[in-house]
């Protein structure tokens, strides 16, 4: 008996390990890296996207003459102060081809964000904590995902999304989600994402919705789970949600891109989040993405 007592830990450990090993082997197998024939991402597609993002960013003020209002007749959005929108019709080609990048953005000052809500993950947390747009509302937490919000009704600081979206009258709602679920089935992710957009539209009929591209990761941070190829795929699916009337797609990537489709290493430590000092630039960029009608009010 004393022998057994002296080897009690050995016995317990070996016994429990024998029992648990199959589960752990399964976990090792599951998380093991799959061998892929080719690991290199598709540079031309990425480059092209970065370029298009660049051009839309570089001419925000030039296009103010076109002034698409975002009003399309069927819904008559009222701005925060209750005035009716002008009679100008929405650009017809935008209605016909919804995925065409919208290029009517203008530059606004930070008061544009007085009635804005940001929904997002850790990048949005960074924007909240280190950005300059302190007047906006935020619904964000580290690890938040479209799946989490729609499927699991995840709360942020005890407040669920349903409560948050009814809490106040919003003029602009920014959604930037997806990096935490980019390794999942993207069709499923976009379904959850779309559900959020629909919910925002239903609960905040006056608000415009910005569906934001996910920031790509740096070359050193890219893994088989989080790859820029899948981020680009998800982003292009998100861009399809835009109708350029109520829902607009904006893509931050050009601002932080290293020219080859990766987040610039110097701007980041972990390859996923920009350093705090760069969030003000992000905020300035957001200011340059104002929709004329909403900016005017």
């Amino acid at each position: 008996m004393s022998n057994f007592k002296r080897s009690l830990y050995t016995f317990l450990l070996v016994f429990t390990c024998l029992f648990a090993s199959p589960f752990i082997w399964w976990q090792i197998w599951k998380t093991g890296k799959e061998q892929k024939p080719s690991k290199t991402p598709d540079p031309p597609a990425v480059g092209a996207q970065a370029k298009s993002g660049n051009s839309s960013q570089s001419e925000p003020e030039k296009d103010t003459a076109e002034k698409p209002t975002g009003a399309d007749g069927s819904e008559t959005p009222t701005s925060a102060d209750g005035t009716q929108p002008g009679t100008a019709a929405a650009p017809t080609e935008a209605a016909a081809v919804s995925t065409e990048p919208y290029n009517g953005f203008i530059l606004a000052d930070s008061s544009y964000f007085d009635d804005a809500l940001f929904i997002g993950d850790s990048r949005t947390v960074g924007l909240r904590d280190y950005g300059t747009l302190k007047n906006a509302d935020y619904f964000c937490s580290v690890g938040l995902s479209a799946t989490g919000i729609t499927k699991n009704n995840e709360a942020v600081d005890g407040v669920t999304f349903d409560t948050k979206i009814d809490g106040k009258h919003y003029g602009k709602v920014y959604i930037m989600l997806g990096i935490n679920e980019v390794g999942n089935d993207l069709e499923g992710v976009i379904t959850y994402y779309r559900a959020i957009v629909e919910k925002v539209k239903a609960h905040q009929p006056d608000a415009i919705v910005y569906v934001c591209a996910n920031l790509r990761v740096s070359q050193s941070a890219e893994t088989s789970v989080i790859s820029n190829t899948s981020i680009n795929t998800l982003n292009s699916m998100i861009s399809q949600l835009a109708d350029n009337k109520k829902v607009f797609y904006i893509d931050i990537n050009a601002l932080f891109d290293d020219g080859t489709g990766y987040l610039t290493e110097a701007y980041t430590f972990d390859g996923v989040h920009p350093l705090a000092e760069h969030y003000p630039d992000w905020c300035d960029w957001l200011c340059s993405k104002a929709i004329p009608y909403y900016a005017a009010n």
Binding site: S7, L12, C17, I24, I28, G32, T268, F269, A276
Partner: protein
């Protein structure tokens, strides 16, 4: 492959233990002398080579061959030193030059060339992948050659045994730096694997695993967060919290690793020396370095400080000897300027204690602990951040009332504390000698296995949860 990974604990270790424990019994092969022991050593050598191979990402065949050849070379040189006493000095010098050549080639050429380029040369700087554990392996090889030269030990007659001494996987990648004479007995005499030794080895391994996974890895996330924010944009409170977190992380990471190595060693019948003795409870920097990475400190004392004359040739020479030792200690930890300055800072503090404040610290224990609480995190800052410019930014953030150059989120310190406070408290408690005292008292009570089992499975749970993301030991860099 790190010890705190599912792959090591649930695949490599059990498979190895089966081979190690049963193969020599079940399938005896003639030719080993003594048959069972050397067979076991052979299995341990093979297992260590497999372990080494798992740690290689590029050119595995090349690195494995290089590793075996350096072991063979040192084995031969050791025997030459032992058997040709007239030319022993020549062989010793050849051996030392050979060993340090590889260390310099892999670890320091990049640094040397970069600095030469600063003063007008134009040399190509290559990012060489250093062989696993090269700093540790080099120091073990050199210590063996010197010990044989000094007749402190007989040269090893068996290549297998020497190979086990150098490559034994428990201490291959991150030490402790074992001296040959400390394990010679275990290598050539039949090792007894008693149930109580196995029990004790598993317990030590579990404590080390808990240190690493539950404390170091968790509090390390705060240091990662701070790097992610950027030093420009942290509040003074967070800056202090950050270097304290890093100090805890480094200690529990490295001490946890050393404990795991000790535990594994005991499992195979070896006595691997203790590497840490509550360094954060030290009352001076000199005291600290007798408690932190003990085997490295004794290496420098044994093979650099004392041969230079130690403290026996007047205070001028003593200071010089200290300076040399601390410069080498600094540069051993990494090839960049911050490690040089780190070594110099330690030298400065130790000299300060030796000539000025040592007596005061001895008499005033509370003041001594406060002094250590300040200088430990500050010196680790020089160690943690390799970019000198970033160190400057960080130091400015440590000073209250100096305005940050970046945008600072005011509530950052409170927010991080709310997340990490439990790890701070846990780390603080386990830095003191109290838990070990309690553990020694209850070691053989039936409660201990239950507690340790909980520690083990909680650690495994964390490893399970983080999936394929293995947090490598901080010391892997060195």
């Amino acid at each position: 492959m790190v010890f705190s990974s599912l792959n090591f604990i649930f695949i490599f270790l059990p498979v190895f233990l089966i081979f190690y424990g049963f193969i020599p019994q079940l399938f005896p092969i003639k030719g080993f002398d003594p048959p069972k022991l050397q067979y076991k050593n052979f299995v341990l050598l093979l297992g260590s080579m497999v372990f080494y191979a798992f740690g290689l990402t590029e050119h595995p065949a090349l690195y494995i061959s290089l590793f075996i050849l350096t072991i063979l070379f040192n084995f031969i040189i050791g025997n030459f030193i032992g058997h040709f006493r007239q030319s022993a000095k020549l062989w010793l010098i050849l051996g030392i030059v050979f060993n340090f050549w590889w260390l310099i080639f892999f670890k320091y050429t990049g640094f040397i060339f970069t600095n030469l380029n600063h003063i007008g040369f134009s040399l190509t700087v290559k990012d060489l992948i250093a062989p696993l554990g090269i700093s540790f392996v080099t120091f073990q090889n050199v210590s063996y050659l010197v010990d044989v030269y000094r007749k402190e030990t007989e040269p090893e007659e068996s290549f297998i045994n020497y190979g086990v001494y150098i490559s034994m996987f428990p201490q291959l990648s991150n030490g402790p730096i074992v001296r040959y004479k400390d394990v010679a007995e275990d290598l050539v005499n039949e090792r007894r694997h008693t149930p109580s030794k196995i029990e004790n080895g598993l317990k030590t391994f579990t404590i080390g695993l808990g240190y690493k996974v539950i404390l170091a890895d968790q509090i390390g996330l705060l240091w990662r967060d701070i790097n992610g924010i950027g030093f420009k944009s942290i509040s003074t409170g967070l800056a202090w919290l950050g270097i304290i977190a890093y100090s805890f992380q480094l200690y529990f990471d490295f001490c946890g690793y050393s404990l795991m190595a000790m535990g594994l060693g005991e499992l195979f019948g070896f006595k691997i020396p203790e590497n840490f003795r509550h360094p954060y409870a030290a009352t001076s920097m000199s005291d600290f370095w007798r408690r932190w990475h003990i085997t490295l400190g004794s290496w420098f004392r044994e093979y650099i400080y004392i041969p230079l004359g130690g403290n026996r040739q007047g205070s001028g020479k003593t200071v010089r000897n200290f300076l040399i030792v601390w410069l080498f200690t600094g540069i051993w930890h990494g090839a960049s300027w911050n490690f040089v300055f780190w070594g110099l800072a330690l030298f400065g503090l130790i000299m300060l204690e030796r000539f000025y404040i040592g007596d005061f610290l001895k008499e005033h224990r509370i003041a001594a602990h406060l002094y250590m609480a300040l200088v430990i995190p500050l010196t680790w800052l020089l160690f943690a951040v390799t970019d000198m410019k970033q160190i400057g930014i960080y130091i400015m953030r440590l000073i209250p009332f100096v305005k940050a150059s970046g945008i600072v989120h005011e509530g950052d310190c409170a927010e991080k504390w709310a997340v990490y406070w439990k790890y701070f408290i846990g780390c603080f408690v386990f830095c003191t000698p109290i838990p070990e005292k309690i553990y020694k008292k209850i070691k053989n009570s039936p409660v201990t296995p239950v507690i340790l089992l909980a520690v083990f499975w909680f650690s495994v749970y964390i490893m399970y949860k983080r999936g394929g993301n293995v947090d490598p030991f901080l010391y892997d860099r060195f």
